[in-house]
């Protein structure tokens, strides 16, 4: 079975500006993948390339092994929400879905189902111009779900949602993936997706930074170990001799790049008594900042 999504040396230029450069990654079914990067990293462009809304300058963007335009009844394979504003303000929520129902090859009853699913039944007959950003997001999601797709592609879906809405979205996406379906969700805020995603694809300046399972990523990047010793000066000297850097913070030392075990060994060899050793695992935010940091110029 081909990967659900596959970027192959994907490059997109807009005139002088290169939005995506030589991007390659695959996505397997049944996962929630966070597509992360700062604003302007090329996330939306990449999604548009996958969805056939833009043509790659070079390389290929494949969905279920094929270019999007070659999918039969794409609405029943892929659901996507790119911008919450992709709605006609003068049309009601229900009519927005009724317009799309024939091309999604679903009956009108399905419109009512998805309205109920995103909790918009009460506002369905109001014109979209009176909707909050969160309601627009939910209406966009309802449209994406019309055809009961196997893959959801969502661009910054948490924008405009209140904390309750974010929690609802998280539970919904987990449930969606638990049925063996696949979610590809972009965000520039890690905290938003940290509890939702199984794996991450991080890009910056249109280039792949890392593609990894979430837990592997946090494990791979060693955290900081905070050590308190009876004689901090002696410990700092011993660490320096072992080639380990540490920062002094009052009586404590913040040690980077080594495990607590190794610090214990160094302290033992130097005859320093340790009072407290705490491993501070990195937050996803730290990982993100570290990976997308500009190289010093």
């Amino acid at each position: 079975m081909p990967p659900v999504l596959s970027a192959v040396e994907l490059t997109k230029r807009f005139g002088e500006i290169t939005a995506v450069t030589d991007l390659s990654f695959d996505l397997d079914a049944g996962s929630v993948t966070g597509f992360l990067g700062p604003n302007g990293a090329g996330k939306t462009t990449t999604m548009r390339l996958f969805l056939g809304l833009a043509e790659p300058t070079h390389g290929r963007a494949l969905v279920f092994g094929r270019p999007f335009a070659e999918l039969e009844r794409p609405g029943s394979r892929v659901g996507a929400v790119l911008e919450a504003a992709d709605l006609h303000p003068g049309r009601t929520g229900r009519d927005h879905l009724r317009v799309l129902a024939p091309v999604a090859h679903v009956a009108s009853s399905r419109v009512e189902d998805v309205l109920a699913l995103v909790d918009l039944k009460g506002a369905a007959d109001r014109r979209v111009k009176g909707y909050s950003l969160g309601m627009r997001q939910r209406l966009g999601l309802a449209a994406a779900l019309l055809g009961d797709p196997e893959l959801l592609i969502l661009d910054e879906p948490a924008n405009g949602l209140d904390p309750e809405g974010v929690r609802w979205l998280r539970d919904f996406l987990r449930g969606f993936a638990a049925e063996g379906r696949t979610v590809f969700v972009s965000s520039h805020l890690l905290a938003e997706v940290a509890q939702t995603v199984d794996q991450v694809v991080i890009i910056n300046h249109g280039r792949l930074v890392v593609e990894s399972a979430l837990n592997e990523l946090t494990r791979r990047l060693a955290g900081t170990v905070r050590v308190e010793a009876a004689t901090p000066d002696a410990l700092e000297a011993a660490l320096r001799n072992a080639g380990v850097t540490a920062e002094r913070d009052n009586g404590a030392l913040h040690v980077h790049g080594v495990t607590a075990d190794r610090i214990g060994e160094i302290a033992l060899a130097a005859n320093v008594a340790l009072r407290q050793v705490v491993t501070e695992s990195p937050t996803l935010e730290d990982v993100f900042l570290e990976l997308t940091a500009e190289p010093p110029s």
Binding site: A80, H88, G90, R98, V99
Partner: protein, 244 residues
């Protein structure tokens, strides 16, 4: 294709655009009928050409406004971004364009049927009120019924292609209005031999307007169809290639 057409027709039904434009067309048709029916003297009104202006001239409002409905059917999608959901469910852009052309043509026919019926009703009522006999021959009457319907359908399709080519709503409206109300009229008045070959004047010929400088209705039809085909070809080329 059938599903896409149903979707396009629902798009047109679920906003107020079509209703508002139809209402304007109805108003302008009635206004035109009163102007052409009440200002001429009784002798003038008894002439067939004046009666053709009374009925046919009023119906041209349908054609003009149907063009804008076609234009808005495309530019609204770009203005509000609904083109993205549209293409996610039907990525074959040719199919979407064809459905939009068909839906716009149907709206054009609706506009023309309503306006022609109104123009005939108002025209005949004015003639009766002023006690003038109907001087229309059967052939001219037939052209005044069928011509605007065909011209309005083709104009709405032309509007779709202009929208697909320009995309920016304000730009497309300004371009179309400036062209129809200024460029083409001036050209037609100064160089009728050239001006009558332009789509708007060829459409007026097809609609059966009595003007010596216009082409014959059949020739006008051929010229409008040729323009429409050329614009459809250009719109297909632009739609197939560009990013949205």
């Amino acid at each position: 294709m059938r599903e896409q057409l149903v979707s396009e027709l629902r798009k047109l039904r679920t906003t107020r655009t079509v209703a508002v434009f139809l209402l304007v067309a109805v108003g302008l048709t009635l206004l035109g009928a009163f102007a052409e029916g009440l200002s001429p003297t009784l002798d003038e009104l008894a002439e067939e050409d004046q009666q053709r202006m009374l009925i046919g001239g009023a119906a041209t409002q349908a054609i003009f406004l149907a063009t804008f409905v076609g234009l808005l059917a495309v530019t609204n999608e770009f203005r509000y971004g609904t083109i993205r959901p549209t293409l996610l469910f039907e990525p074959r852009r040719r199919v979407v364009l064809a459905a939009k052309l068909a839906a716009a043509a149907l709206v054009g026919i609706l506009f023309a049927v309503v306006c022609v019926a109104l123009a005939f009703g108002a025209g005949l009522a004015i003639l009766a009120a002023r006690d003038v006999d109907l001087a229309l021959t059967g052939g001219h009457a037939l052209v005044l019924v069928c011509g605007p319907v065909a011209a309005s359908a083709l104009s709405a399709m032309l509007g779709v292609t202009v929208g697909a080519l320009i995309r920016n709503q304000v730009g497309a409206i300004v371009a179309l209005a400036a062209y129809s109300l200024a460029v083409e009229s001036v050209l037609f008045l100064t160089f009728p031999a050239v001006g009558r070959l332009l789509p708007g004047q060829a459409g007026n010929a097809l609609a059966g307007l009595p003007d010596e400088d216009l082409l014959a209705p059949g020739l006008g039809a051929a010229v409008v169809v040729a323009w429409t085909l050329a614009f459809v070809a250009a719109a297909v080329a632009r739609t197939e290639r560009s990013d949205v």
